[in-house]
Each structure stands twice: as structure tokens, then as C-alpha cells.
Amino acid sequence: MLSVETARERAVPAARRSGGNLWRITKYTLVKGTTLLITVIIAVYLTILIANMGGYVDKMRESELRFQIAEEINQNEELRLLTVQERKTYEEEVFRVRAKQLGLDRPFIVKSFIYLWNGLTLNLGRAIHLTSDAGSAYVDNIIGERLAPTLLVMASSQLLLFFSAMFFALFLSRRYGSRLDRLVVAMAPTSAAPAWFYGIFLIMIFAAVLHWLPFGGMIDAPPPPGFWAKVGSIIKHLILPISAFVASSFWLSSYYWRTFFLIHSSEDYVDMAKAKGLTGRAIERRYVLRPTLPTIITSFAMTLIGLWTGAIVFETVFNWPGLGRLTQQAINMFDTPVIVGVTVIYAYLLALTLFLLDIVYAIVDPRVKLGGGENGS
């Protein structure tokens, strides 16, 4: 007959555990950190290569520059009086100076590593063509300027969407088959249309026809004097973008989480909880949400990271000064320092988040141990 003593033997002695813990966590940090770093390096370097088409972009720049200079010379009356030789010298000299500014005086492969190193050390440097809205040439200003507006609209939209969809979904998961539930399922495909699509319609209705809300932009032009007036104006301008964003994803998000919660609600221990006589609320909280916390947190973390990349078309439709548009501009102009800046910050954020997520999992889900290791018998 099995005794209590045998059971006790099976458990790992507590003392041995904690010493092993520290070593295990340290090892985990090092290994994970290094892996993530290597991934970041590769990702950034690939981005540099692709953004420069392997160096072809330099050729394009050179060609454009020469064309530009030739045009200027042709349209400049004074230069007509130069001899062909003099003109050539002049053209070469102008080209040399401007090429240097565009970084065309160095071979691409050399530049690629300089970009990589600068990017990784977050020494973002100067942009090639782009200037920040205020005219700064420095990439951290260029990106920094757009950060707050991007976060403002994206954070409000995404967070509103995330929490409203999730809690609505929880509510729905207890009402499977109800009319509301069926409505959500039917409405889910409406999320096939992206946020900017909804945006266009909302603008058409509320701005073009009804004149209730502005067409776009972040604040009235020119901005009203006074702090609260400015805040009010920004809020007014946020209404349509947030609405478009939430409207486009709400149904699908709710559907997704509702299905997710439904699946997890059919776990045995949820039934058990019901059998034990817990209220619906209590079951939701402790038996549905708690065990699925890792997934929810992951989703939330990914949402948070995605906040700052912005959304190109969305920002274009709403004329919002965001990072999405900036990134697109940078890509179109092959402005490597800016592209690298955006990529590397995103990569670091992502790597950091992944790293932290593992730790969060371990805290939140007792089944997970940092660095693997044996589970209970």
C-alpha cells in the first residue's frame, strides 16, 4: 500500500531546488540573450542589404544626381559660356561634393557594415535625404518627432480594441449560440476590410457630408491657443481614426477571443469549477483567464510592439503624422539610416519583449520554468 512517505520522496527537496534555480536562470539569460542578439544582427543586416538592393541603390543615386546636376547646368545661363572642358570640370566638382554628402564616395559593402554597427549601437546618425518635420537631419529626431503622434493614435486604438474585444468575448463565451453570439460570428468577416477602408467611409460620412468631424490631421490648423483647447482639438481629431480602427477589427477580434475562450471553457477544470458552485464571474477570472494568461499576455505584448510601427495607409488616409508614413517615405527614398533606425529599434523592442515574455510566462504560469528543466513527475 502506498504510503505518505513514498509520496514525499517523490518531491524534489526544496533546498536543492533554489541553488539550481539561480544557475539555471543565469544560463537561460545568457543563452537567450545571445540568441536574440544574433537574430537582431542578422535581421538588421538583411534589412540593410534589401533596402539598398544590394548596393544597386547607390548606382541609382549616382545616376539621379548626375541627371539633376546636368539639368541645373542646362538651365543656368551663366554656365553657357563655359567651354566643354570647363563645364565638365565644373560638373565633376559639383558631383564630387554632392556625392560625398550622399555617401557615394564609399563602396556599399563598407557602408553596410558601418550602418549595421551604428544601428546596433543605436547611434542612428543622420539621414541621407530626409529631414525631420522640423528640419533636423538626425534620425533620432526624425523618428522621435513621429513617435508621440503614432503612439497616441495607435495606442488608443489598439488598447481600446484589445480590451473591449477581449471582455466582450469573455461575455460572449458564456452565451454560446445566443443571438448576440451569432451576430458576432456573422459580423466577423467585416474585418476583412482594413482600418483605412473604414476610415475612408467614415471621413466621407462625417467630414464630407455631415461636416461634423475633421477630414484628417492631428489637430486643427492652425492649432487653437491654450492647452485645453489643443487637447480638445486632438481628441476631436482622434475620434475618426480610433473609430475606424476599432470598427474594422472589433468583430473579428471578438470572434477570435470568443472562440479562444470557448475552447478553454470546455476544459475539464472549468466544468469542475462550475460543479463546485463558483459564479460565472469567478470561473471566468480564475479558470478561464488565469490559465490562458500567457497567450493573452503574448498577444498584448505583440500588440504593444506593433503600436509603434504605425500603419502606412491608415496614416495616409487620416493625414496623421505617423511612423508608418515615415518608414514608407524612407523606403521609397532608400534612406538607409532612417530605415535602419526604425528597424533596429523595432528589433530591439521585439527582442526585449520576447526576453521579458519568457520571464513573465514563468511568473504567470507555474507549469513553465525558465530555461526548461524537469517538470513535476
Partner: protein, 327 residues
């Protein structure tokens, strides 16, 4: 206090499925005295688990029919509104140890938190310390070391989890505990252990058990009454001692013959064929197809006949006996 703790009359539980309605519990009636153990036996899929769920009103989403009477301690709890049922019945009066307790415990909560939960919910005036004391007591009873309270379910072996679940079922001192296949996933030694625990509890607290199992042998240790379910119906019910020697229903007899006994040299018989589908079950006796004793009358649905020693059987073979009328 009534002597009769539980009286189930005409309990029906049908599910809606794509293929048609599944008549999982089809007009089941029985009585159970306080302090006694009823073993409900039958093949897989005969509706035993559905019966336990029906009693605790753990209904699935695709419920189609749920009717009948469940009279607990003199009151028909079927009539209770949902919230009253939750507050007064679940875990307070009736508790359950489900089949495959592997997954019955919330993986992210400590054992202690899960066990103490129903205690605190159903007893507002109890504080945590009092609860803790009670839980520790439960652990003692089921024979688990105290420090396992602070562990998570995945750190326990199957057998330990089963015992923890039992502790959880008992912590509020319910009057009726339904155990669904409590030892089917466990090895023999643990099984035996478990039975001992149950016997001890029954002895110490006088808890009424409904033990659902397909393992008649194990049931014999604990059961006072045996009920046999076949295809959603309760085809026989009698006191345990008579069952093993004098089962009446052909199916019950066949069941008994299929159990190996240690000392007898028995030729094991198996029952050919499959139980009928619970969707559109046959109109006559549901066992008729596999029964070697069938005859013409079996194409009609047999009523329940009352035999001696409070034995009831649903079979045309006993047509000369009195029919049991259920309310």
C-alpha cells in the same frame, strides 16, 4: 433528516447533435438512502457519466431535454433556479469527483487555493485560517502530505491528483458525492488505496456515494446498492449482495460472467455485439439484439418490474411480477 437522501424520478437528459437527438439518460428512476453507496455500472457510453452530470445540472450547450424529478432530502431540486442551485446544491449538498481527474485541477492555481475555494464560497463566515485547517484535515484523510498543498497540479502524480480531487470534493462536507470512474486511470495498487480511503470516509462521515464505474469488481468493495445502466436506461437495481449472486437481467448476468475471479476457474464470457446507438434507440428492449434470452415480446419496451429484496429489473422475463410505477 430523511432516510432517503436522493430520489430520482423519470430523469431524462437528451443532447442535440447533427445526427439527431442523443437520449443519454432516458427515463431513469432510483432511490438512494442516506449513508449508502450506490454503484452504477455499465459499458462505456451507456449514460453513466451523463447521469452524474444530470444530477449536478452540469448541462452541455447542446441540451435538448432535461426533465424529471430529483428529490434531494425531500425537495425537488430540479425546480430550483440556477443561482439557488449554484449556491445551495453544488458542492454544498452534492459534490463530484469526475472521471479522469488529470485535468480537473486548474493548472495555474495551487492545490490549496483550489480546494479551499468552494469552502470559502459556500461559507461566507469562514475565514482563511479556518479553511486551511479544514483542508489540511481533508488531506490527512485522503492520505496526502501537507506540503503538497502548496504545489501545483502538474507536480503531483495521477494518483495524488485523484486523491486531491477527492479531498476537494469532501471539503465542504457534502451529503452526496458522485465519483465517476475514480480509479480507471490508476494502477491497481493505487486503486486499492483509493478504495480504502473511500471506505474510511464513508465510515467516518457517513457520506452517501454514487460510484460510477465499469469495474464491477472494485465496486463490490464499497457498494451497498448496484444499478446497471444499459443504453441510457437503468435496467436493473438491487442490493449489492444479491447482485453478485443473483443478478436478474440477462445483461447483468453477462456482466458478472465477464469478470474474472481470483479463485474460481471460470470460463470468461464476453457479450457479442455493440450497445445500440443512443440516437434513435430501438423501440423495444434495447438489449434484445444481444440477448440470448430474447423472445417475441421483447420487441416491446419492457416496464420496470419489482422483485424481492427491493430488486428492480427492466425485462420481459419477469412479466409475471408487479410493475413498478414511478410517479
Amino acid at each position: 433528516m430523511n432516510k432517503m437522501l436522493l430520489e430520482v424520478n423519470n430523469l431524462k437528459l437528451y443532447f442535440r447533435t447533427k445526427k439527431g437527438p442523443v437520449q443519454a439518460v432516458d427515463d431513469v428512476s432510483f432511490k438512494l438512502e442516506r449513508g449508502k453507496t450506490l454503484a452504477v455500472v455499465g459499458e462505456s457510453g451507456c449514460g453513466k457519466t451523463s447521469l452524474s452530470k444530470a444530477i449536478l445540472r452540469l448541462l452541455p450547450r447542446n441540451i435538448m431535454e432535461y426533465s424529471g424529478e430529483i428529490i434531494l432530502d425531500g425537495e425537488d431540486i430540479m425546480k430550483y433556479p440556477e443561482d439557488r442551485f449554484r449556491r445551495e446544491i453544488r458542492w454544498k449538498k452534492i459534490a463530484m469527483v469526475p472521471q479522469a481527474a488529470m485535468n480537473s485541477l486548474n493548472p495555474v492555481l495551487r492545490i490549496l487555493d483550489q480546494i479551499i475555494e468552494p469552502l470559502l464560497i459556500h461559507n461566507r463566515d469562514m475565514n482563511r485560517d479556518q479553511g486551511l485547517a479544514r483542508v489540511k484535515e481533508m488531506f490527512r484523510i485522503v492520505g496526502l502530505p501537507e506540503d503538497f498543498l502548496y504545489r501545483y497540479p502538474f507536480e503531483l502524480s495521477g494518483g495524488m491528483r485523484q486523491r486531491a480531487t477527492i479531498a476537494m470534493a469532501l471539503v465542504t462536507n457534502p451529503e452526496l458525492v458522485i465519483l465517476d470512474e475514480p480509479s480507471s486511470a490508476l494502477d491497481l495498487l493505487t486503486q486499492a488505496n483509493l478504495m480504502n480511503v473511500l471506505k474510511r470516509i464513508k465510515h467516518e462521515f457517513g457520506t452517501t456515494f454514487i460510484l460510477i464505474t465499469h469495474d464491477i469488481g472494485t465496486a463490490s468493495e464499497l457498494a451497498d446498492e448496484i444499478a446497471v445502466m444499459y443504453a441510457g436506461e437503468m435496467v436493473e437495481k438491487c442490493h449489492a449482495e444479491y447482485f453478485y449472486t443473483d443478478a436478474r437481467h440477462p445483461y447483468s448476468r453477462k456482466l458478472m460472467s465477464s469478470v474474472p475471479t481470483l479463485r474460481e476457474d471460470k470460463e470468461l464470457v464476453f457479450i457479442p455485439g455493440q450497445p445500440p446507438s443512443l440516437i434513435n434507440p430501438p423501440t423495444g428492449c434495447r438489449f434484445a439484439e444481444r440477448c440470448d434470452k430474447r423472445f417475441a415480446k421483447c420487441s416491446e419496451h419492457p416496464p420496470t418490474f419489482d422483485l424481492e429484496h427491493d430488486q428492480q429489473v427492466q425485462c420481459w422475463l419477469y412479466t409475471d411480477r408487479e410493475e413498478v410505477k414511478h410517479a
